[in-house]
């Protein structure tokens, strides 16, 4: 699959084919499983070590800080724009992806840019900026090591923080031989050195640097960029012009609040106490600065965010793109990482924001392909209740008639049955008969001899019979597991017998 189409598939997007292919890819399963489990355990350990029993309290606090900023986003954005402008930066506003790209292309044309170096920015993935720059002849190099490798290999990122979680080093080695003419090596240190040498040359000759930002500080008008590789610092400092493309939700009020997020971001993302390079940039180079760009442009991007700002989904804009929910998510693991989500944002956060950005009708699978286990909510450093947001989208699927009619009718009938105790009991009895019919005689045999043959009032209260194959839509259950056959004894019967029964001292009150 070509890299560009992975994250911009034909719509409406069907997740299952990609998930199924990934599920059968043993190597991919191993990479993604081990990488995400290591990261998830690392996060838990790092956060427990730093915050102890107050981990949840810290997550709630961070969520409240960001929620407050979003509740008053107009105020804080205005304050940021005023202070950034006062520092000498040029602030632009883009309502959507096309406008954002047009602004950046306009700057590139104006300064006659030939070569652009770029650090990691999720919002530029949203807008497809890199392709737009290449289309007007501005060569653009990704400088985050993972993104650089993906660019060389014409592949797409599959994780918000560790974009090449789905690749192993042999793929990197082959790409370096093919694209850079490097000697074949699988040694990570050597591979990094090759990439570094290549990139240094680009940094020296680039005219334009493009970055995102992790935070915008309203009080000071500063951009905050966090990287482990230091590449963003060179992107910012080396070329004449720096363009930061940032989502409007990234604004926070003060440097004091920043400290809370820096503590949580690194621990949640990579289990580090602190990201290696945390750079606060306020305006262009001053007369006595040793380095820095002559021009700083900040492109504030909406691209669907003000729609998400409505009250019931506002909490989603608290996201600081740490990727902790991806690492914690068993579904993300089983579908082999982010490509199965068919969009820039993957994992649990992607499952809730992609339908909001791109239309629920285009991504009906994303909110449904979840067991609602809640691991994402537990991992989220800004306390976003992702399961509740998934359920909200499922409600919209029903309300907008995006759920297939037959499924909807089946649920309504089920609910109708559950409202009537006699129907409930009749349907349970019917199920028992059917399941007993479907279990083959060998399966009714007690595998473990006397094991599990415990009766109450003469009836077996435990069954050791199973169905290996169910008909209709329930066939999906028996693809990978047997279905237990209910025992012959029922609780209600046991209760009724006992209620009438001999042992008056144990008689329980009737409702």
């Amino acid at each position: 699959m070509s890299g560009s189409r992975v994250l911009t598939p034909d719509l409406p997007f069907d997740m299952s084919p990609r998930a199924d292919v990934a599920g059968r890819d043993v190597k991919l399963q191993q990479f993604v499983n081990s990488a995400t489990q290591i990261k998830d355990h690392g996060r838990v350990n790092a956060c427990r070590a730093a915050f102890g029993d107050r981990y949840d309290a810290v997550r709630k606090l961070a969520g409240e800080i960001k929620q407050h900023t979003l509740d008053h986003l107009d105020v804080y954005l205005d304050r940021f724009i005023d202070n950034a402008t006062a520092s000498g930066a040029l602030v632009h506003f883009a309502a959507d992806a096309a406008q954002a790209n047009a602004i950046v292309l306009g700057i590139a044309r104006e300064i006659d840019a030939k070569l652009c170096v770029k650090s990691k920015s999720m919002v530029t993935e949203e807008t497809g900026l890199l392709a737009a720059l290449e289309a007007i002849g501005v060569k653009t190099i990704e400088t985050d090591l993972g993104e650089f490798i993906l660019q060389l290999d014409h592949d797409a990122p599959s994780h918000i923080v560790t974009p090449m979680i789905h690749k192993d080093r042999t793929a990197v080695a082959r790409a370096f031989v093919r694209e850079l003419g490097a000697p074949y090596t699988e040694d990570p240190a050597e591979l990094t050195r090759i990439a570094r040498d290549h990139m240094r040359r680009q940094f020296r000759s680039a005219d334009m640097g493009i970055s995102g930002a992790n935070f915008l500080v309203a009080d000071t008008g500063s951009l905050v960029i966090c990287t482990n590789e230091g590449n963003a610092d060179l992107v910012v400092a080396s070329p004449r012009v720096h363009v930061a493309v940032v989502g409007i939700e990234k604004v926070i009020s003060s440097l004091e609040h920043l400290s809370v997020f820096l503590k949580l971001l690194a621990r949640s993302a990579t289990a580090q106490p602190m990201t290696v390079y945390n750079t606060i940039i306020t305006g262009p180079r001053k007369p006595d600065d040793l380095d820095g760009p002559q021009q700083v442009h900040i492109v504030l991007v909406d691209n669907g965010r003000t729609e998400i700002l409505r009250e019931e989904t506002r909490e989603l804009l608290r996201c600081i793109r740490c990727g902790a929910c991806l690492n914690a998510c068993p579904v993300y693991r089983k579908v082999g990482g982010g490509h199965a989500y068919g969009a820039v944002y993957s994992g649990p956060i992607g499952a809730v924001i992609t339908p909001l950005f791109k239309g629920l009708e285009n991504y009906p699978d994303l909110p449904q392909a979840s067991s609602l286990c809640g691991a994402c909510f537990e991992a989220c450093p800004v306390y976003i209740n992702i399961p509740a947001q998934l359920i909200r989208l499922r409600r919209l699927l029903v309300e907008r008639k995006l759920m297939p009619g037959t499924t909807r009718v089946a649920y309504r009938l089920w609910a109708m049955t559950l409202r009537r105790p006699w129907m409930y009991r009749a349907s349970a009895a019917f199920q028992r008969i059917v399941l007993r019919q479907l279990s083959t005689s060998s399966e009714v045999e007690d595998r473990a001899g006397v094991n599990d043959r415990v009766s109450e009032n003469g009836r077996d209260m435990v069954s050791s019979a199973w169905c290996a194959k169910l008909p209709g839509p329930l066939r999906a259950w028996t693809l990978s597991r047997d279905m237990p056959v209910p025992p012959s004894g029922s609780f209600r019967e046991w209760w009724a017998n006992r209620d009438r029964g001999s042992d008056a001292s144990r008689r329980a009150g009737r409702p």
């Binding site: 537990e378 759920m403 649920y411 609910a415 415990v454 990978s480 329980a508």
Partner: protein
């Protein structure tokens, strides 16, 4: 205490003995157990699948049926979370129904939660004895109830229990209600991970209190790890107190315990 048993649809259908065990243990502790016969299902399948009008009807039924109860105990953490957390989202705050939902939420406990947080039992002092090697599956919705290792603590208080911690215990088993049927491949991957983790423990029994997880994991074990069978903690305790016969024991040992 007068305790109303909320049996849940899956436990009633597939694991009635788990409910019998809970009744016996609660009575052994001196409580009066009631079973409101009109109960059916809390409506979680409808709620989780977005049919909130139907979920609201079923929640209203539940609230009415359990209104007279002093306390409600259920074997399922998932259904307890539905009652405690999600019922509240079905009506606007400060409405009469919301207040009624709050009242039900306040008196509803999952069984292990009831034993450890309300009753504060010490199974050592109760001389519960159940020899065997087990591993315990922690169901995901215990998270919503603020529970983590309470069941493990209880198991460790039982004389004779050799508990092997389940590796990667925090990963969901892949049940997720209709998820297991709607996304069978993803669910299969998850339950296969769970079976591998259980295999690593070499335990004889899997203790799991959630009927949904139990059907899923036991159904997968039946194909890949048939020597491991499922039991609920209620049954372990009831057997350990002599209130229920141990598997393979006398068929007529029903009234053996009689501690109440």
């Amino acid at each position: 205490m007068r305790i109303a048993l909320f049996i849940t649809c899956l436990t009633e259908q597939f694991y009635p003995r788990a409910a019998v065990a809970i009744v016996k243990v609660l009575e052994h502790l001196g409580h009066t157990v009631e079973f409101p016969a009109a109960q059916t299902c809390c409506g979680q399948p409808m709620f989780n699948n977005g049919l909130h009008d139907d979920a609201r009807d079923l929640a209203r039924r539940m609230i009415e049926i359990f209104a007279p109860a002093e306390h409600v105990v259920t074997p399922s953490g998932s259904c307890a979370a539905m009652v405690r957390e999600h019922f509240l989202h079905l009506w606007p705050e400060r409405s009469g129904e919301h207040r009624a939902a709050l009242a039900l939420a306040a008196k509803t406990s999952e069984f292990v939660e009831f034993l450890t947080k309300v009753e504060r039992v010490d199974l050592r002092a109760m001389r519960v004895r159940w020899p065997g090697s087990v591993t315990y599956h922690r169901s995901c919705h215990l998270r919503s109830l603020g529970l983590c290792d309470e069941a493990e603590t209880l198991l460790d208080q039982i004389e004779g229990v050799r508990r092997v911690p389940l590796p990667r215990a925090e990963q969901c088993c892949g049940f997720g209600g209709t998820f297991a049927v709607n996304y069978p491949q993803i669910s299969a991957g998850m339950v296969s991970d769970k079976v591998s983790a259980i295999r690593e423990t070499n335990a004889e029994r899997l203790v799991c209190n959630e009927a949904g997880c139990g059907m899923n994991i036991a159904g997968a074990c039946r194909r890949a790890l048939p020597e491991v069978s499922l039991i609920t903690i209620g049954e372990v305790i009831a057997q350990g107190l002599g209130l229920l016969p141990r598997e393979g024991g006398s068929m007529n040992a029903d009234h053996g315990g009689g501690g109440s």
